[in-house]
């Protein structure tokens, strides 16, 4: 594989992201506000509960889980659905399809630049702040390595889901509606709004068998595990790998089938 052409796209994306420096500041302000709200909300929840551990999670665990879930969300949100949808409406997609590179890859790699920037400018600072605020609740060891692997798999699953949803735009003309549905479903069922540990038992079992929990719940559980048994880590990563492959195949096939019926008005 010729990596150079992909890395050029990454570089272009980084430069583009740097054009909008102010937006990083605003995103950071938003994240800090969110952090404050989540902190106090769960603090009073735990104070009212009267016990330190609820559903196997301490206050610090919950805080880290939710804040990092948001940080991961910001980091992984690539607006793929919007991009595909708009390109279909404007007809620009024709030009992209003519490029000597698979559209799926082109889109991913043009975004990889903002990935890199988002990682350093929003995810890493959030991570460090949370690690400092909760003094040492995040175990620093081999789990960080697992966490990175897990996040990479999560990015892949998330992208495939986005791509499938984006492909639906070929049929519907609706972007906002499709995107909001996806976002709501993914955020709720992945445990990003309320940790999956708090779900009622039946719902929890159901959710654990869906691909969405592999996006946020899996990496965060791996990160927070104090003494992870190797087999449980392997099982989590294996599940992620499974979903990552399944979703990738579905998204590729769905795109291929859908492309036959594409209608572009001008462009």
């Amino acid at each position: 594989m010729n990596l150079k052409k992909y890395l050029t796209l990454t570089r272009a994306g980084m430069i583009e992201a740097l054009q909008f420096r102010l937006s990083f500041v605003i995103i950071a302000v938003g994240n800090v506000l969110y952090l404050i709200v989540v902190y106090f909300l769960w603090k009073s929840i735990y104070a009212s509960a009267g016990t330190d551990i609820v559903n196997g999670m301490t206050f610090s665990d919950t805080l880290i889980y939710l804040v990092l879930a948001t940080a991961l969300f910001n980091f992984m949100e690539m607006y793929t659905v919007w991009e595909i949808g708009r390109n279909i409406q404007s007809g620009k997609i024709v030009l992209d399809l003519l490029k000597p590179i698979e559209y799926r890859k082109y889109l991913f790699w043009s975004y990889s630049g903002s990935f890199v920037m988002q990682f350093f400018l929003t995810f890493l600072p959030t991570f460090l702040i949370v690690a400092a605020v909760t003094h040492g609740t995040i175990p620093l060891g081999i789990n960080l390595l697992y966490f990175i692997v897990s996040v990479i798999l999560a990015v892949s699953i998330n992208y495939s889901i986005d791509y499938i949803v984006g492909t639906i735009c070929l049929y519907t003309e609706s972007i906002w509606g499709i995107n909001i549905m996806k976002q709501v479903i993914v955020l709720l069922l992945s445990g990003a709004t309320v940790p999956i540990a708090f779900f009622p038992e039946g719902l929890k079992q159901f959710v654990l068998h869906l691909p969405f929990q592999s996006i946020y719940n899996a990496p965060l559980t791996i990160l927070l595990a104090k003494d992870p048994a190797p087999e449980s880590v392997l099982r989590t990563l294996g599940t992620q790998l499974f979903w990552s492959l399944v979703m990738m195949i579905i998204s590729k096939l769905f795109w291929k089938v859908s492309l036959r019926r594409i209608t572009v008005n001008g462009g």
Binding site: S48, V54, N179
Partner: protein, 267 residues
């Protein structure tokens, strides 16, 4: 030129509204999907809320039904901003592309004309959902149904709406000064998520911040106290209608100042 009275504006609003609905109806699939998306958003918000309260009977002295009241109250209060001021979301695009200049040449109030162009029917789904929640909580809490109570509810719902509208106007107007102001608007919209929690969960410093700097507490908390806890209504609750009107006026001025400053793109 004759001063245009309220009747004139109401008549013209319905004329513009009819055009908007006609154009929406030509994208029926989009309309249906967006409506489902909106309902899903509310349902999922509610599920998150429900999961949380399954685990904890009360938060900071607020019972489940009181929290539900706050939740429903904030949903209903957010309906006007969703229905009548949704065109704010397109402001940045219009300013950026130069299309905004067309609004500047109309012989009626610029702000009025711009906002009246879009009526978001999806908001009505939210209204129904919010009203349902509010009425349910009202019955469960055993609140009295007297004309005075209903009048109070109406006044304070309007107050809360005005504050949210004001925040959105001001955030949208940021696009007249800053490029890529999407994140400002996005941030303002995230506030409404936090509005459904009682401000007493925060420490004094943040209580101050969320009351006076980012006035999130005025969207649901202060206004609803008048109905929920009539024995301990703080001065700020009684003042909130005035604050709402002042905020709205200030945001209107900011918006108009930005709009009159606008010089088009030359296209």
């Amino acid at each position: 030129m004759k001063k245009k009275n309220l009747r004139f504006y109401i008549r013209i609003y319905f004329k513009i509204l009819a055009q908007d609905l006609k154009s929406k109806m030509s994208y029926r699939a989009d309309f249906i999907i967006s409506t489902i998306g909106m309902i899903l958003t509310n349902v999922s918000g509610f599920i998150g809320f429900w999961i949380l309260f399954r685990n904890f009977p009360s938060i900071n002295g607020w019972s489940y039904h009181e929290m539900l009241f706050l939740y429903g109250f904030s949903l209903v209060a957010l309906t006007p901003v969703q229905c009548f001021f949704d065109n704010n979301w397109n402001l940045r695009g219009n300013v950026y592309s130069g299309d905004f200049i067309k609004y500047c040449f109309r012989p009626i109030n610029l702000f009025f004309y711009y906002q009246s162009e879009v009526f978001d029917i999806k908001g009505l789904g939210q209204l129904a959902f919010g009203l349902g929640t509010l009425i349910y909580a009202w019955i469960k809490l055993g609140l009295a149904v007297t004309p005075l109570m209903l009048l109070k509810t109406l006044v304070f719902l309007l107050t809360a709406s005005l504050i949210m509208i004001a925040m959105q106007n001001a955030a949208a107007a940021a696009c007249f000064w800053i490029e890529n102001s999407f994140y400002v608007l996005d941030l303002a919209m995230r506030f409404k998520e936090y509005a459904k929690y009682p401000v007493t969960i925060f420490s004094p410093v943040f209580r101050f911040i969320f009351t006076f700097i980012f006035p999130i507490a005025f969207i649901a908390y202060y206004p609803s106290l008048v109905i929920l806890r009539p024995d301990e209504v703080p001065v700020l609750s009684w003042l909130s209608p005035v604050i709402g009107i002042v905020f709205f006026y200030v945001s209107y001025k900011i918006w108009m100042r930005g709009a009159t400053r606008y010089s088009g793109t030359g296209s």
